[in-house]
Point group: D3
Chain length 149, copies 6
């Protein structure tokens, strides 16, 4: 078990985009859509929690490097059957930010979950995956698979 | 937006069980099964990260109450098509530990992800959900839905 | 220097209310009022940051006891000359939550500051003080002084 | 709500200086002056808490970037009517450290508060503001306003 | 790997006392004794760092339970050949605080180390051990061994 | 008390190696050797805890700079009379990582302690010291002293 040595890698701009879905009951989803969630604004809470979680990634995932992040952004939509979350994270460091984007998107979904759990105990997170990454030696990568919730 | 007042609720033993799946390529899965993951022991890392993440839940999910946890446990299996994670969390406090169990299980999966990402960029987390909760006013609840990854 | 021993004190319901003002330029204030702050919703961000900061109090203030909080709430208003923040924190522990309420309110104001600093570098936080506390041996206390920003 | 992209900004030396006042009763102030505070050395505690808080800024203020800090320093004085705190923070990163200096100075004052609250419940923090910032595109800025506590 | 279930244990007052030695060069030790350490007051810094570290124990040691602490105290002395640290920690919870006391005492010594390392690179921490514990099913225990640095 | 200004120092590769011993009873040591520790795999837990602790160093030691680490690694052996821990930490920053290596090694030993304390309350940590450091103005340094546990 070790944090791999990235000292010989270049500092370049690196980006990662991740997504996930939170499937929920029609009742829960309409509360989200109509801003009738008792605990408050789910969209704002998910966005802030995502940004803060991206910064906490190295203290959550044991082998992640502590990194300066230059940008974190979360988009949330109430789609069909549930909410859709997309996180974009950027850095100018020696290693990529896939794990930061994945952490951001999963904590965003769990934040929404926490606010909706009194309405729906049976929610399910799905399709949490990396959509795209760029920068660094391995260059640009796009997830070839299509996910349909 | 507020942390709801649980001051009037009783301190009782409360349990929550959550699960998720991490789907991965056959190559990644056989590395897990044969302990050939370069970064180390995925099972041990996932278990420890899950326990530590359960304790961090209130600093990740904005509206969660800070709680004393009496027990946290993670089971990991290399199943068909991927890894399966189950977290069990207990407390003797005024509110339940669903979010702690869900956080534990998702950080466990992300820890495995981080260790396997050089082999498979296309992994996908699925079926992250609550399986069971007990204790508190709402009593015992079992997720009626069946999830097949 | 020591964290005082509260082992002999009773577990009772304890509440604390704190307030502060963030004075800002008319330009900054009208942006807040008209939701024209580029970084997003100042009210939602301040509320969430306050709740999370209340939970971080023992890791910020060296001599504070780690406590279970049963409730945290923040009210924000765009008043005359600036924004007004009021935090209410509750616990059922052996010691009070004044410091949690004061920390919540100051981090709420700094969160607003961070979102407005590109518009106004000259903001000033004022009147950060305890308004009320109840519970515990010293009973109910109300701040006798009137603060006018 | 988003952490703004600073990837295109230059790494330059950036400094920020912030101040605040903690007004207190003559009794509390003379305890500070004569080192008769039961909980210990208020000056040392405020200084350490300020330095540690500056480092915690990105986990307190949701939209702040995680930054390497090259220097943090706090000056404390027992002045007329209360204590005066000045924090100086430096970095060589892509964005400024105003929020770090403001956070440092406010946590320093709250640390003193915590140590003095058994003597004076009615303390008030005032004049928390940025005094000066330099480095980066916007150059050198000095707060033109004079604050008299 | 699991956090053991303490749900069935009683809430009782529990105490733990731990100690360690930091051996250093005569030059370093005389700087400590004569308050000539450039970075500041080693005694105050060690005390505060110990108290804060005790509170961080569950986020440092993976299998430790999150606990409310009722008291934390550190004594530091400049003895023969080095500094001596003793931490006393108390709780009224379902499990003991040995690890909190040991963590406090080791972070206290490392804090002193950090402040003295420009004078002496060759310092050595020794005799870090539990001196005494009481409360809980196993009752009162005193370390029978004598440690001579 | 201040975090010294390292803004004028060069960014160079810097390495630090630290070690310590955890002396324990033959019974505890044979449990480690034969993987009969009830709480789980001591080696894996110590390694992960060490890596995570290295990253937490600036929030534990008040005057440490927040740093990007490029590599952290822990070796653990069950030797004669106890366990031996060696941590290697690297950075490409303006200041060294001695404190990160020392923190890693001490938290690794405390993690083992926590897992073994039900078998042996009388364990003792010894010989915690810096073995080697390189990089930066002071160049390569090796600890000239020999430590025999």
């Amino acid at each position: 078990m070790r944090m791999v040595d990235v000292g010989a890698k270049d500092k370049t701009e690196r980006t990662a985009i991740a997504e996930c879905w939170l499937r929920m009951s029609p009742e829960a989803l309409s509360r989200v859509r109509e801003s009738r969630v008792e605990k408050g604004d789910v969209f704002a809470a998910a966005k802030l929690a995502a940004i803060m979680a991206a910064k906490q990634t190295p203290s959550l995932l044991p082998l992640c490097h502590p990194l300066g992040l230059t940008s974190v952004e979360l988009e949330v939509e109430a789609g069909e059957g549930g909410m859709h979350f997309v996180a974009r994270v950027k850095t100018c460091e020696r290693t990529g930010v896939e794990m930061e984007a994945l952490t951001a998107v999963s904590i965003a979904a769990l934040t929404a979950w926490d606010m909706l759990k009194s309405t729906d105990k049976g929610m399910c997170m799905e399709g949490l995956r990396l959509l795209e990454k760029s920068g660094g030696r391995s260059g640009h990568w796009k997830n070839p698979a299509v996910f349909r919730p």
